[in-house]
Symmetry: C2
Subunit: 208 residues, 2 copies
Amino acid sequence: MPQAKPVAARKTRIQTRNEQLILDAALEVFSVYGYRGTTVDQIAARAGMSKPNLLYYFRRKEDIYVAVLEHTLANWLEPLRAIDAAGDPLDQLSRYIAAKMHLSREKPEASRLFANEILHGAPMIGKFLKGPLKDLVDAKAAIIRAWSEAGRLAPVDPHHLIFAIWATTQHYADFDVQVRAVLGNGRGHMRAAERTLIALFMNGLRPR
Amino acid sequence: MPQAKPVAARKTRIQTRNEQLILDAALEVFSVYGYRGTTVDQIAARAGMSKPNLLYYFRRKEDIYVAVLEHTLANWLEPLRAIDAAGDPLDQLSRYIAAKMHLSREKPEASRLFANEILHGAPMIGKFLKGPLKDLVDAKAAIIRAWSEAGRLAPVDPHHLIFAIWATTQHYADFDVQVRAVLGNGRGHMRAAERTLIALFMNGLRPR
DNA sequence: TCCGCTCTTGACCATTTGATCAAGAATTAT
DNA sequence: ATAATTCTTGATCAAATGGTCAAGAGCGGA
């Protein structure tokens, strides 16, 4: 019988360790060079193993990419999920902005990986965008709309508000190079950015 | 003597026409597949000529890429340049947002090309970012700061305000696929987005 | 018309790269 | 201990791709 790919069954210690090593290495490399710009050799080197060994765990380059995307999608949406209809509108939204800024600062690679995927037409996660993502966004948009209609928030198109929050916060991860080029390499940017964004959105959304 | 590359000297009609064909084709292809994901053959096919012929006009793939970037940079910054210290602050900024939205709607490829370049660390235009771009942004930031200090605009970090406008407007070009996945393929998005953004920023920036 | 220069391309080359394979090393179960 | 299974990698392959070259076609000025 030919050499069998490790199936969904029980995972060896080595298997678990190496798959994690590969996923970590792949995130770093894919987020910098993109899918096409990344070579399997690069990932293997960063993961500290030979290319054939890497391909023993993930048969194809594409499989690694998809696995990395899936592994990070959940974390990336977590803050949106946390928006609570029962909370105070401005408080909930400023928490959301703060959480997204935190992610942009601490996990910029994940943001860049998504940005790259979507920029290129989301060939791998198109289904996810139209399914789970849309559902979650619609649900949270409904909450925001209800807040506006109750006069607890300035009237605003909730979907575009969510887009605006995504765009402004992820900007600091995705376009980090540009931000640094303009602002210099200091370390206080993110704090100032967070303060500015929260002030801007809070003033913009306070019911009047 | 070896075949000489057409120098900066006088340009043939054919030369002008073909270089433009190549640049147009290259923008379309690079903006979709990125630098590494694009093949010279693809560009040549789209420009309606053979690969060697394309390489007669641009010796290396990289030369085409740089030329396309340079050709579009100016247009992309034009709206920022138009911000006028002598104008009304809220009016100037809402015009700026509208102009950027217009570009995102009409020339999304250009936006995606830059997004891709910056996302990958701006290997080709790093100099431009730290030079001309930074200078222009600093100049306009000074204007915005002066408006704030004169009480004609809410106090705000001008650099981060500019970043916020870039992020929110270019989002509709760069992440078009995601926007469509969530909102459907209707045609009214951009108008609604523009209204929402202008309202948000105007409320957020009105002096209080 | 004729000559020189520009333009065009099929064929080709070298390198990169995703993927395979066979054989041996390490680990695990009995 | 030993057999079975999992893990590892050097060597190799085939396809894709950036770039070259020589030879011919087309164009413009005298």
